[in-house]
């Protein structure tokens, strides 16, 4: 009987993690470049009480076996890399990637971070940095006293100074064999792992990366309606598992009452 208690508890625990994932998605519904997370479950081990085909007499066998499952467990939080909607901002420092690929960012630790958030700013020295102040990689420095500033679809950054147009840098995007294997570290940043494979970099539009559009940002790809539905399902699934705990508990109490 204790099996049922633990089994139902594993179901409740799984739904708790599910709700945590959903809550994080909903909290990031307005986060630029955020990618929806999804909790994935698997059934746990099975206890084979009697295999199918066991002898029921000397000449006959049981046509069905008896396997008792021990519940569920969470196996992964998948990240869904579908394209978010574009939002027109008219700010020349806002960039969006139409397609796959990530901006590369040099982190203070010296590592390279990857992000879909193209909300950039010039630093005091004219270096293009993210909202958290990390410079893009390869670094792009704007000349002093620039008048206009454009970024082409292929990542060419040009600025005009006193009416003379000049190329000041090239943006590069990174792509991965398995983007879902990247590790989220917060701050819209992802880090490379052994599961993601190494970064393949190239100009936007090359190596399967998308082109860059200026003056737009990519919205979070979280769909509020979908998350609300998922939340209802998760909550009900939690509830139904708690009923099973109650039933198991009641049965245990009845066993205890067999002798008075």
């Amino acid at each position: 009987m204790l099996r049922a208690l633990y089994t139902a508890a594993s179901g409740m625990q799984a739904q708790q993690i599910n709700i945590d994932t959903i809550a994080n998605n909903i909290a990031n519904v307005n986060t630029t470049g955020f990618k929806q997370g999804r909790a994935e479950f698997q059934d746990l081990l099975y206890q084979t009480i009697r295999p199918a085909g066991a002898a029921s007499s000397t000449s006959t066998t049981y046509p069905v076996g008896l396997q008792l499952g021990l519940g569920t467990r969470q196996v992964a939080t998948d990240r869904i890399f579908t394209q978010g909607d574009f939002r027109q901002t008219e700010n020349p420092f806002d960039l969006t990637i139409a397609g796959k690929g990530f901006f590369q960012v040099k982190l203070p630790s010296g590592e390279t971070g990857y992000t879909r958030d193209g909300s950039l700013h010039p630093s005091a020295d004219g270096i293009l940095v993210t909202s958290s102040g990390d410079p893009l990689e390869p670094q792009v420095t704007l000349p002093a006293n620039w008048d206009t500033f454009t970024i082409g679809k292929d990542g060419t950054v040009s600025a005009s100074v006193a009416g003379v147009n000049q190329t000041v840098g090239n943006l590069q995007l990174a792509n991965f064999a398995n983007p879902a294997g990247l590790e989220a570290v917060g701050g819209n940043l992802l880090k490379v792992t052994t599961a993601s494979g190494d970064a393949v970099t190239g100009a936007p539009g090359e190596n399967g990366t998308g082109q860059i559009f200026q003056g737009m940002l990519e919205n979070s790809n979280v769909s509020v309606v979908e998350e609300m539905v998922n939340m209802i399902i998760a909550q009900r699934a939690y509830e139904v598992n708690s009923r099973a705990v109650k039933a198991a508990d009641d049965m245990l109490s009845q066993i205890n009452n067999l002798t008075r």
Binding site: N18, T48, L66, G181, A247
Partner: protein
């Protein structure tokens, strides 16, 4: 008298097993590709045993938009290579590992129609309808789908996997494989049905428990107390 107690024990124990099966189904309400177990009571010559069957009905197919999700829209199982041999699953939530092999979420390689793992090294890997794996738009392999002669020799292993315990020729390729790309098959557990099963088994348990208590206190107890009185 002891016969009644044994019958009572079997009656309660079998209901407990039924509840354990129901509980496992409920715990797996959200497990991709999960198949409901239904427990049943089997009357044998001397006792009552519990058997569990797998309900192979399709779960609902939900669109996810994820390039590496694939749902089986009909009969069949994906074949995956595990350390213990080939296993079968309906869970099409796939991923790529670091060397570009198509794997399940616990890292087991998925097999193609040719029976070999699928290497999809490239930057735009997707699974199309029909289970066709494409890399940058080029077809590289098709997912293998197999069916079984019967479901009774199919044992659960956990982690969404089944193991075939019957004869080797009981596994055939599905003739008309139907797969949907960018979609997943939900668990086929029906919570309403499971709650009904839970209630039924629970009430049955209660009845048996009442009868055991009656036998004990009203009959056995009285027998000992009344008959044993000497004066």
């Amino acid at each position: 008298m002891s016969d009644a107690f044994t019958a009572g024990y079997i009656g309660m124990d079998s209901r407990m097993k039924l509840i354990e099966i129901v509980t496992n189904n409920l715990a797996n309400l959200q497990t991709t590709g999960f198949k409901t177990d239904f427990g049943r009571l089997l009357e044998s010559e001397k006792s009552l045993t519990v058997g569990s069957n797998i309900d192979m009905a399709s779960g609902e197919i939900g669109y996810t938009g994820n390039d590496l999700d694939v749902a089986i829209d009909g009969p069949g199982f994906f074949a995956v290579q595990t350390p213990g041999g080939v296993r079968y699953t309906r869970n099409g939530s796939l991923s790529l590992n670091e060397s570009g092999d198509l794997v399940t979420k616990d890292g087991m390689k998925v097999l193609s129609t040719s029976g070999s793992p699928i290497n999809a090294r490239g930057l735009n890997v997707a699974i199309q309808d029909g289970g066709i794996v494409t890399v940058d738009g080029n077809e590289v392999a098709t997912l293998k789908l197999v069916s079984f002669r019967n479901n009774t020799d199919l044992q659960r292993e956990g982690a969404n996997r089944f193991v075939w315990t019957g004869a080797a020729d009981g596994v055939q390729d599905v003739e008309l494989p139907m797969m949907k790309g960018r979609a997943l098959e939900h668990s086929n557990v029906n919570p309403t049905m499971e709650m009904v099963r839970l209630m039924t088994a629970y009430r049955d348990f209660e009845s048996v428990q009442k009868s055991v208590r009656t036998i004990d206190s009203e009959m056995n107890g009285r027998l000992i107390q009344e008959l044993g009185r000497l004066t």
